[in-house]
């Protein structure tokens, strides 16, 4: 019974546009979700305690080697998933929760409010993301919440812009005018007509966004502005590891880097798949 | 008068969802020099597809079968190179929407120069002279050569399109819904223009439209299309006074007029069949008032009633 349900879900995902991207992206992310949830069970060692000789290359005991403190890279990498995903998802959701309603309201109302807000958002948007995040992170200081806030700030304009533009184009559609003629309130129009039209786009942006947020977080940590040690964090480990590259301790850089690449790939593929899945539907009209 | 264009079992198909949709499914007809042939039908009947197939302006992946003989050459078999020489020079086409048919960043004169010099080797002055002449013939002052498309009204743009089509004196002009997106009075003006142009330039015209009033007043012969097939061909007066095919009869009964004595409009139930899966029998069968048993299972042959009357219906054998 369960198998059949799974099978039909499987087919539903794979068939149709973007199916392969969705499938591969989904599988990759599934692996990371497993890491996230079951980190304490998967990681063989405590990630913040030295458990072996420093600079040990990958062996059967330490399958990804150890770092300069003798900590198990594999365990650090597994636990690092928690930081990466937590910060990225929190930041993305925060940005969405701020940007989307602002975009909806601004796009629907128009007028001076819209013009001013758009100008502000455009200014933030045109500022190089990482630099802005660095500036804000430097101001706020380290810590998961602060990092998430600084990352969220650079993404708010993305949601704002996309939603606002969609609202503008849907607003002008005849079926919205028809709804108004029926006596629908602005609230109803926003919810049932405009928001429904905006949702597919938002989903696509969310997944692309998370991918980007992970990179940004890694970047911040790499520069020392992110999560303070000894918390396992891929970006920090990258930064830490690259100091010892000349010693040929490649595993300290390679594995955290690999994680970053894979998870970004996963989210990007998911985003691409969603985009292809929704796009034909959008094109149909 | 000779036969200018002859189609034999012409089929035109589009690739849809991995299958072929035959929008034109085996049509045969002749167009004589000097004719204005009206090609009428409702949306989805295939008339526009047939129109663009004359110049093989079909999207990639389309299929075209059968034969289409123009001036002794089979257009279906010609190469793209050879076709390009014919387009605009021997066969020209005007489309429905003059708003989007002209390039917004090119001046009117540039449209003409480009068209002319693609086909014949003349100097720019000569090309301009030719353009001015043909523009005057359609009622546009030659000063308009310096204008851009957005400076012209809808009616003016359509006149420019007609002039562009005629500047190289083609033998055949295909007009696909040339007046549909224009206002009523401008429509009448453009139709007048098309009629006068036929005289002045001696061009044969195929007029594609859904408007029976237009073909009644303009065409000397009419072909009625339904679901990818031509169901009736007749001289205009005979088609209206004694239509043969049940669809033609139904269509005529549904056309509104401004005559106050004409009080009833007869509608037609149902809709045309899905051409991805055409029925085995007559395509009009489900909606036909005069249907017989044989109509359900077998697609009728074309019957020649007289020299210029053809009908595709089991009632006439």
């Amino acid at each position: 019974m369960e198998f059949r349900a799974l099978h039909s879900l499987f087919r539903k995902i794979v068939k149709g546009h973007g199916g392969i991207a969705l499938l591969i992206g989904g599988l990759i992310l599934l692996v990371f979700i497993v890491f996230f949830i079951f980190a304490p069970f998967i990681a063989p060692y405590d990630p913040i305690k030295p458990v072996g000789p420093s600079f040990s290359p990958p062996t059967t005991k330490f399958i990804m080697g150890t770092d300069n403190f003798g900590r198990d890279v594999f365990s650090r990498v597994i636990w690092g998933t928690r930081i990466a995903l937590t910060v990225a998802i929190f930041a993305t959701l925060l940005a969405a929760f701020i940007g989307i309603p602002l975009g909806l309201f601004s796009g629907y109302r128009g007028g001076l409010f819209d013009r001013v807000l758009t100008m502000i958002m455009d200014s933030i948007y045109s500022f190089p993301g990482l630099i802005l995040a660095i500036a804000i992170a430097a101001m706020l200081g380290p810590g998961i919440i602060n990092i998430s806030v600084s990352i969220a700030t650079i993404y708010v304009p993305t949601y704002f812009r996309v939603v606002r533009n969609q609202v503008n184009s849907i607003k002008a559609e005849l079926y919205v005018e028809a709804a108004r003629a029926l006596g629908a309130t602005d609230g109803v129009i926003l919810r049932k007509y405009i928001f429904r039209g905006v949702v597919p786009t938002i989903l696509v942006i969310l997944s692309m966004n998370i991918a980007d947020a992970i990179l940004t977080e890694a970047g911040l940590s790499f520069l020392g502005l992110g999560i303070p040690p000894p918390t396992p964090d891929w970006g920090f480990d990258l930064s830490n590891g690259q100091r010892f590259l000349l010693q040929n301790s490649w595993w300290m850089v390679f594995y955290p880097g690999l994680m970053i690449v894979l998870i970004t790939l996963g989210f990007s593929l998911l985003g691409e798949g969603l985009q292809e899945r929704f796009n034909p539907k959008l094109k149909e009209r | 008068m000779g036969i200018l264009l002859e189609a034999k079992d012409l089929k035109v198909g589009y690739r849809v969802e991995g299958k072929i949709l035959w929008a034109v499914d085996g049509v045969s007809f002749q167009v004589e020099e000097g004719d204005i042939v009206g090609l009428v039908g409702e949306s989805g009947c295939g008339k526009s597809t047939l129109g663009i197939s004359f110049l093989r302006l079909l999207p990639p992946g389309s299929r075209i079968e059968g034969s289409l003989i123009f001036n002794g050459r089979d257009l279906v078999k010609l190469s793209e190179e050879e076709l390009r020489k014919i387009r605009g020079k021997e066969i020209a086409m005007i489309f429905q929407d003059p708003m989007t048919s002209l390039n917004p960043v090119m001046k009117i004169k540039d449209h003409f120069i480009e068209t002319i010099r693609t086909h014949i080797d003349v100097s720019e002055e000569k090309a301009l002279e030719m353009s001015a002449n043909v523009l005057e013939a359609v009622g546009i002052p030659s000063s308009r050569l310096e204008s851009y498309a957005f400076e012209l009204s809808g009616g003016q743009r359509q006149r420019v399109m007609i002039a562009l089509a005629l500047v190289l004196n083609p033998k055949l002009l295909i007009a696909d819904e040339p007046t549909t997106s224009l206002d009523v009075i401008v429509q009448a003006q453009i139709l007048d223009l098309i009629a006068s142009v036929r005289e002045k330039f001696g061009v044969t015209i195929i007029l594609i439209t859904h408007d029976l009033g237009v073909v009644a007043q303009m065409a000397n012969r009419i072909m009625v299309m339904y679901a990818g097939e031509i169901v009736e061909i007749a001289p205009t007066d005979k088609l209206f006074s004694s239509p043969l095919h049940p669809y033609t009869k139904a269509l005529l009964g549904a056309v509104p007029t401004i005559d106050l004595n004409d009080l009833e409009l007869h509608s037609l139930d149902g809709s045309p069949p899905n051409l991805l899966n055409p029925p085995r029998g007559c395509r009009f069968y489900p909606r036909c008032f005069e249907a017989m048993d044989i109509c359900k299972s077998r697609n009728p042959h074309v019957v020649r009633i007289s020299r210029d009357r053809y009908v595709k219906c089991w009632k006439y054998r």
Binding site: L174, Y193 | Q187, H210, G213, P256, T257
Partner: protein
């Protein structure tokens, strides 16, 4: 005002400001307007169908939207069922909307592509809080059945793109009528449908008019179609009403040269009938800069000196037949 008038429009005007370029904004003071509707007055009696006829730029579509209060008039008044609704807004206007509904030209565009047909038709009932969910669904199924969209349960679940043009327009009509409005504005309601389907829809609209006791404003450019459903015809040109009268007088003895031109421009679907065209030269001028005096005078074969100087008023030339012309026909 006649007691039976359901809709009365008085000197209705709608001017749209024309956007100026940045330079113009800086250096010129005067504002330019597009006078889409420039002083239109008429009445529609209860149970009547008034055809509002005109070409592009005539303002007929704008009048439709003004009457439905989808636009605010620049000047003038609108009375519905004896009540002045010109400045109604907000909640009051919303609630009043139950009484007047609209059917637009493009059924695909006026239906929300994300909403099932059944939900779309149920929507007005939900908006105005009429009935329980069960009752609402029942009403929708009834309506679908009445519109010939059978089986209704199956059509309830379909999306707009799964229906044909004629079916979609019927769904739109169902949605408009489910609130039992008194008045319906049909804005080129059948223009996008095939000829064979058009007749069916006109037939339906005429039946519904009787059944639901409706009053229609039928906006169209197609004089041939208007004939089958309208009782009276009003002709507009460049924002002004040039002629208004009952069906018979307009079609057999039009008095305004423009009306005559419009009628004669329709090609008759019978080759035996000689097409006597009475075509004015040129096209409808730009509504931003309309001609002085009578707006039609530059194209009018009967224009006199007076026509270019003085705008003609609507005068009752025979009972029930009004013309705005200095030299009316015959």
């Amino acid at each position: 005002m006649r007691m039976e008038a359901l809709l009365k429009v008085e000197n209705l005007k709608k001017y749209f400001p024309v956007k100026k370029s940045f330079i113009e904004e800086l250096f010129t003071r005067e504002k330019r307007f597009l006078r889409a509707v420039d002083g239109v007055s008429f009445e529609i009696a209860r149970g009547e169908t008034l055809g509002l006829v005109g070409e592009s730029g005539s303002g007929k579509t704008t009048v439709g939207r003004l009457v439905l209060r989808l636009l605010d008039p620049t000047e003038g008044r609108i009375f519905f069922d004896g009540e002045d609704i010109t400045s109604l807004s907000g909640e009051e206007l919303r609630r009043k909307r139950r009484n007047f509904q609209v059917v637009f030209q493009d059924p695909m565009a006026s239906l929300n592509p994300h909403m099932k047909i059944g939900e779309a038709i149920r929507h007005p009932l939900v908006i105005h809080g009429i009935g329980t969910e069960k009752e609402q669904k029942r009403k929708v199924l009834e309506m679908l059945d009445r519109m010939g969209l059978v089986p209704p349960e199956s059509f309830y679940e379909k999306y707009p793109h799964e229906l044909s043009g004629g079916q979609r327009q019927r769904a739109v009509i169902a949605r408009a009528l489910i609130l039992r409005p008194k008045f319906v504005v049909a804005d080129e309601a059948v223009a996008m449908l095939d000829v064979s389907v058009r007749a069916k829809l006109l037939e339906l609209m005429i039946e519904l008019k009787r059944e639901f006791n409706l009053t229609y404003l039928f906006i169209t450019h197609d004089l041939a179609t208007a004939k089958y459903i309208c009782d009276r015809i009003a002709v507009m040109y460049l924002g002004k009403l040039v002629e208004i009268g009952d069906l018979k007088s307009i079609y057999t003895s039009p008095r305004h040269p423009y009306t005559k031109a419009l009628l004669s421009a329709v090609p008759f679907p019978d080759p035996k009938v000689k097409w006597d065209r009475f075509l004015p030269p040129g096209e409808v001028p730009n509504p931003i800069d309309p001609p002085s005096g009578c707006r039609f005078h530059p194209r009018c074969p009967l224009a006199s000196q007076e026509c270019s100087k003085k705008e003609p008023e609507l005068r009752e030339i025979e009972p029930g037949h009004w013309v705005a012309c200095h030299n009316p026909l015959r």
